[in-house]
């Protein structure tokens, strides 16, 4: 195929991100400077974000058979870039400046995070199994390094290795599934698979097996029950800004490609597989919430809660018609905002790096009376995760319930209601801890003027956004409504 200027414009976000990677790498080789690396990464990400606007003009456009740049892809690209940008600012606060903070080389973290973001961009625009795999690996491999970035900390190293082994196992499943699917369908593109499977009234057993194995591979990355075992450990071990990246950008990218696959080849969502998905959804909702109940570590708690949240999202995936696509978009956006906020508070509490993160719940006791605004941010995030009105999370949950009711998925809706009721318990526990007064406690605090730094500003903006979208969600809904799949 011939590349025209149109293709380059469509591909601009990816190209600019990749260019940033090269520039940052060269800059590090030339001179190690934390602030300089940070500024370069930020500038690159912002440029990539801006380049989405011209890309919207040319979308939808297939760039090579591997990638499809449409409004759907661009929405998720924007989401990934914003999440990455937020994580980068958090990382800057976390690594610290000068002699304090992280003792090793700080600059490579930015390199890895940018690489992973590029992988995410490829992933959300993949319309071909090869594209999917390239994107997924490009996303995963830098993440191993990121998780183990604080490698002198045993937990971080352990988490990195655990994530690497399990992720590789997931990728193996995925590859095997693709091979089986190719054997049956004779095509690697999503639409080709869709046509081949739709030709027969019932997909052949081999194709079903292939799809099931792919599902396992993707479920690993999304940490859906029963493939969730790595989540709490990795969340706990990873440095806080990296955990934020894992919870947001990674999961959004994987979920988006899953949505595209299931939408373009709907046969993937019929018969047994649909039932399997429903069972996974119910199991994720219930187990995620139940296991979170007894956690005393905020990062582990958020890990379990993210399992439950992706269970809720699966409801929309199972429904797959009507409001589903919109619901997924809205929910992912609100979830990203909320997770970034929650992990952001943990990051600022642990900044600059002091060997371990402030993630034990007791360290947050009575935070309100010391850092009222930081606490307000975390409170809004907890309410948003619980889906209480006045926060963005409520709009997301509202959408998911609407989708479930529309598709008559009563069991799934019932498990969502039950799951939320359980969920409220531990979110409230975190929330009330923040306000309890406990004298004579070792104080772990955010820096005094946390709100005057990039990370703090970003966090306050996110909290305001979560509140604003909860009160007036129309702009978000309009945006997501336009993000349709290109054919």
């Amino acid at each position: 195929m011939e590349f025209t200027i149109q293709h380059f414009i469509a591909l601009a976000p990816l190209l600019i991100t990749s260019l940033t990677i090269v520039v940052v790498m060269l800059a590090i080789a030339w001179r190690r400077n934390h602030a300089q690396t940070f500024l370069l990464s930020c500038a690159g990400l912002n440029l990539a974000l801006l380049s989405i606007i011209p890309a919207l003009k040319v979308a939808p456009l297939a760039v090579t058979p591997l990638m499809m740049i449409d409004d759907f892809a661009l929405l998720y690209i924007a989401l990934i870039l914003v999440a990455t940008l937020a994580c980068v600012t958090l990382a800057h606060a976390y690594l610290g400046e000068g002699g304090t903070g992280y003792p090793g080389n700080r600059e490579e973290l930015y390199l890895l995070i940018l690489l992973a973001a590029a992988g995410g961009i490829v992933l959300v625009s993949a319309q071909h199994l090869a594209g999917l795999f390239i994107g997924l690996e490009l996303l995963s491999i830098p993440t191993y390094g990121l998780v183990a970035y604080a490698f002198f900390n045993k937990r971080s190293l352990e988490a990195g290795i655990k994530y690497m082994v399990l992720s590789a196992a997931g990728s193996a499943f995925l590859l095997f599934g693709m091979a089986l699917l190719y054997a049956e369908a004779g095509s690697l593109s999503f639409s080709g698979i869709g046509h081949a499977l739709a030709a027969t009234s019932m997909p052949a057993p081999i194709a079903q097996l292939g799809l099931a194995m792919m599902l396992i591979g993707l479920a690993f990355k999304l940490s859906l029950v029963p493939f969730h075992l790595w989540t709490p450990d990795v969340y706990e071990g990873a440095p806080a800004p990296v955990a934020a990246f894992l919870a947001t950008a990674t999961k959004v990218a994987v979920f988006a490609v899953m949505v595209r696959l299931f939408q373009i080849s709907p046969a993937a969502n019929t018969g047994v597989l649909s039932n399997v998905l429903s069972v996974i959804a119910v199991a994720s909702i219930l187990f995620g919430n139940l296991l979170a109940l007894t956690q005393n570590n905020l990062k582990r708690l958020l890990g379990y809660s993210s399992i439950a949240h992706f269970g809720y999202l699966l409801i929309a995936l199972v429904a797959s018609k009507g409001l589903a696509l919109e619901a997924i978009g809205v929910y992912l956006v609100t979830y990203v905002i909320t997770s970034l906020g929650a992990f952001g508070v943990i990051t600022l509490m642990s900044s600059p790096y002091k060997g371990r993160d402030a993630d034990a719940l007791y360290e947050y006791r009575g935070l309100f009376w010391r850092r009222p605004y930081l606490t307000a941010v975390l409170t809004v995030m907890m309410l948003s995760l619980a889906g209480i009105p006045l926060t963005a999370g409520f709009i997301g949950k509202f959408y998911i319930i609407a989708t479930g009711v529309e598709a008559h998925q009563w069991w799934l809706v019932a498990s969502l209601v039950l799951g939320s009721a359980i969920g409220v318990f531990y979110y409230l526990r975190v929330m009330v801890t923040l306000f309890l007064i406990e004298p004579n406690l070792r104080r772990v605090d955010a820096e005094l003027h946390w709100e005057q730094k990039a990370g703090g500003v970003m966090l306050l903006a996110i909290a305001l956004l979560a509140f604003f979208l909860g009160v007036y969600p129309q702009p978000l809904l309009t945006l997501v409504q336009h993000a349709v799949l290109g054919v």
Binding site: I388, V417, L418, V432, F435, L477, T478
Partner: protein, 510 residues
């Protein structure tokens, strides 16, 4: 424009209270007092100047005394839609009055973090006013859930843990939150179900009350959706199998929390039944009425028996609320205009009498530092005025003629008798148990041998004004309830028409 302000005033006032804390602990109290007085004054002004013969009724588009509408979320046809009729006005007046009182009664009780306390208090009241005014189902749910959060904080941060240490205030607050939140989500599912049923027949997505009233659906669908609404209201009212959060929440809450909880929050459920559950699903409600009335009966007796067995004075009052709300439930589902009017008066009177009893037990607690009636006894001789006033409100609570409670119960029983004489007869015997627990409370707490001879300090002006004002009001309702009945008449007539038609259809079908 006055309707949005009714909601906004408490919210803004709450924020001002929080900000005002840095200038001392007294300022937030005055700001809160002013805010709620303004709210009450606005309500009274509306009462004096409005025409409350407008109310929704079947067959025509609803008419309102005042209406406000503005687009909110276009995608789902959601509007900021507020409207006022007689019923909502009475509820708002009650909210304003109890709002003022809950500020006054925390004047000395709350000493920690005064600004944040009043922020939560104001936001609860704002949410409640929102519930009473919202006519968009999404908006109704929005406020319904929203007010839980400040209530949770109120109980969890300023409450009292029980003396034996078994039930902490956080336990009570969490239980309250989970019960109401889960049932609320069931209602959300039902709301969405209703909206989608309406969408399938008309092709328009709307959460507007007036449009949804016209929804055509099969009886089975109607019944299921009605149950979804009923569960949420039943938890909040509370109806007996769902009541277990109430005594815990009351016992552990600070006085202001109890006043709001018993006085206003329970009324939102009754209001929801009258405004939404019955008019939206008249046929299913008519079919469900016997079950609901039976639940009401069970509530009357169960609440009364358990109230009798309590040693904690606040738990006793809490269980008495369960009993009183049983009467309200029977009145609502009886389908007679008289009983519906009685339910409204009962809501007002119970709001006032329960609030007064909670305020009094709060004042008792400030003096004795216990709520355990086994440790009281003989208080009559030790505190001036307080025991006698308590006796008055206990008598009101058992339905003594001359108090508003009597009017409410009498109208409910009278109205119910025509259709369902048996239920009315059994419910009447519940009044006997009402007197038993009311009197035993007085007996245990104030009579008997004194535990100590030290004279406790009497009531100061603030305390006296609060309870005496309530007493006067209660007698006023008891002697001359006509203004209140007139205000709610049109609304209740509408509800009765919906329900009456459904009843007669049901009767002819059988």
């Amino acid at each position: 424009m006055i309707l949005p302000w009714l909601i906004l005033i408490p919210f803004i006032g709450g924020l001002l209270c929080w900000m005002g804390e840095r200038f001392g602990a007294t300022l937030p109290r005055w700001i809160a007092l002013l805010t709620m007085s303004l709210e009450l004054a606005l309500g009274l002004w509306l009462w004096a100047h409005g025409d409350y013969s407008f109310a929704p009724a079947p067959g025509a588009d609803p008419t309102w005394a005042l209406e406000f509408k503005h687009v909110w979320i276009q995608r789902f046809g959601i509007n900021v839609h507020l409207a006022l009729d007689g019923l909502s006005l009475l509820m708002i007046l009650l909210t304003g009055l109890l709002g003022v009182l809950s500020v006054l009664c925390s004047w000395k009780e709350i000493q920690r973090h005064v600004g944040f306390f009043h922020l939560n208090l104001m936001w609860i009241l704002g949410g409640v006013v929102g519930v009473f005014l919202a006519l968009d189902l999404f908006m109704f749910f929005f406020f319904w859930e929203m007010m839980l959060v400040p209530m949770y904080f109120l109980i969890a941060l300023w409450g009292h843990s029980s003396s034996d240490g078994k039930k902490t205030r956080i336990y009570a607050a969490t239980k309250f939150f989970i019960f109401t939140q889960a049932s609320g989500l069931i209602m959300l599912v039902a709301i969405l179900g209703l909206v989608l049923v309406n969408f399938n027949s008309t092709g328009v997505i709307t959460f507007n009350y007036a449009d949804l009233l016209k929804t055509k659906m099969s009886l089975t669908t109607e019944y299921i959706l009605m149950l979804g609404f009923f569960v949420a209201f039943a938890v909040k009212l509370p109806v007996v199998p769902f009541h277990s959060w109430l005594p815990d929440a009351h016992a552990q809450a600070p006085t202001a929390g109890s006043v709001d909880l018993a006085g206003i929050l329970l009324k939102t459920a009754a209001y929801g039944l009258l405004r939404f559950a019955l008019p939206l699903f008249p046929n299913a409600s008519a079919e469900f009425a016997p079950i609901a009335m039976t639940l009401g009966l069970i509530g009357i007796f169960y609440g009364a028996f358990l109230a009798f067995a309590q040693t904690d004075i606040k738990r006793l009052i809490a269980f008495s609320s369960v009993s009183h709300m049983g009467f309200v439930l029977i009145g609502i589902y009886s389908g007679s205009q008289l009983a519906l009017q009685g339910a409204v008066i009962q809501m007002l009177a119970h709001g006032i009498s329960a609030a007064a009893l909670f305020i009094l037990s709060g004042q008792l607690y400030e003096r004795l530092h216990t709520r355990d009636m086994r440790e009281m006894g003989g208080v009559w001789s030790r505190i001036a005025y307080l025991p006698a006033i308590s006796l008055f409100f206990a008598a009101a609570s058992l339905g003594l003629p001359g108090t508003g409670n009597f009017i409410g119960e009498f109208l409910i029983l009278m109205g119910t008798f025509a259709q369902t004489p048996w239920i009315s007869a059994i419910a009447t015997s519940g009044l006997v148990f009402g007197s038993v627990y009311s009197l035993i409370m007085i007996h245990r707490a104030y009579f008997g041998a004194a535990k100590s001879d030290t004279v406790l300090h009497g009531m100061d002006t603030r305390e006296l004004i609060m309870v005496l004002g309530l007493a006067v009001l209660l007698i006023y309702i008891g002697v001359y309830p006509q203004p209140f009945l007139d205000t709610s008449a049109a609304t209740m007539h509408g509800v009765q028409q919906w329900f009456g038609t459904a009843f007669s259809q049901l009767a002819s079908a059988r």
